[in-house]
């Protein structure tokens, strides 16, 4: 089974600063998808960014970017110019190749943004 590990239960960042959330995973597959999801307090889980393993280029979505290191099985999320609205629980996820393409999630990182 593919496991996903987020080693930082909580992180804090000041507004306008940059923060990096860590994620490592374990898999024997060569082609797969990785995701970062954001879950704001009492709100719906939404997709932040997606990375296809066959793509060497790191994915970027506005202020969000990833550092994908396939050999190291590392998939970190960088948030630039942090905003108060970025405060949320962030989950790293691996898409299975079976089980209907269900996701394996890490335990999550709670991000606090301070003014």
């Amino acid at each position: 089974a593919q496991t996903v590990t987020q080693s930082q239960p909580e992180m804090s960042v000041q507004e306008a600063e940059t923060v990096t959330l860590s994620c490592t995973y374990d898999t024997s597959e060569s082609d797969y998808y990785l995701f970062w999801y954001k879950q704001p307090p009492s709100r719906q889980m939404i997709l932040v960014i997606r990375q296809e393993a066959y793509k060497q280029q790191n994915a970027t979505e506005n202020r969000f970017s990833v550092n994908f290191q396939k050999a190291a099985k590392s998939f970190s999320l960088k948030i630039s110019d942090s905003q108060l609205g970025d405060a949320a629980m962030y989950f790293c996820a691996y898409r299975r190749s079976l089980s209907g393409y269900a996701l394996n999630f890490g335990k999550g990182t709670s991000l606090l943004v301070t003014p």
Partner: protein, 116 residues
């Protein structure tokens, strides 16, 4: 926009009751999922369905069953609720293969179930 809705945001039930959690998606997605979210454990897959009347067990199916009679609706059933099933339940859906965004899952707002 894809919309996934869940019948209740908060639910309180008694031990031994039969509980139904409903999930509806409006984007004609083939795949639907039920996850359980607990602090410090992340999300864990309970059941999934890839077509009407088709269902498969996930990682923690014990104590749960599901029903998918219509494509847009996926129900999670707790046959006899127990206190260790107190949790947040999240429903998700995704398109089938061959579609542009079949890799993405869309989540409902969650149902926080308390079993006393």
């Amino acid at each position: 926009d894809v919309k996934v809705t869940q019948s209740s945001r908060y639910l309180v039930k008694r031990t031994g009751e039969k509980v139904f959690l409903e999930c509806v998606q409006d984007m004609d997605h083939e795949n639907m999922f039920w996850y359980r979210q607990d602090p410090g454990l992340g999300l864990r897959l309970i059941y999934f369905s890839y077509d009407v009347k088709m269902k498969e067990k996930g990682d923690i199916p014990e104590g749960y069953s599901v029903s998918r009679e219509k494509k847009e609706r996926f129900s999670l059933i707790l046959e006899s609720a127990s206190t260790n099933q107190t949790s947040m339940y999240l429903c998700a859906s995704s398109p089938g293969e061959g579609t542009a965004q079949f890799y993405e899952q869309y989540f409902g707002p969650g149902t926080r179930l308390t079993v006393t």
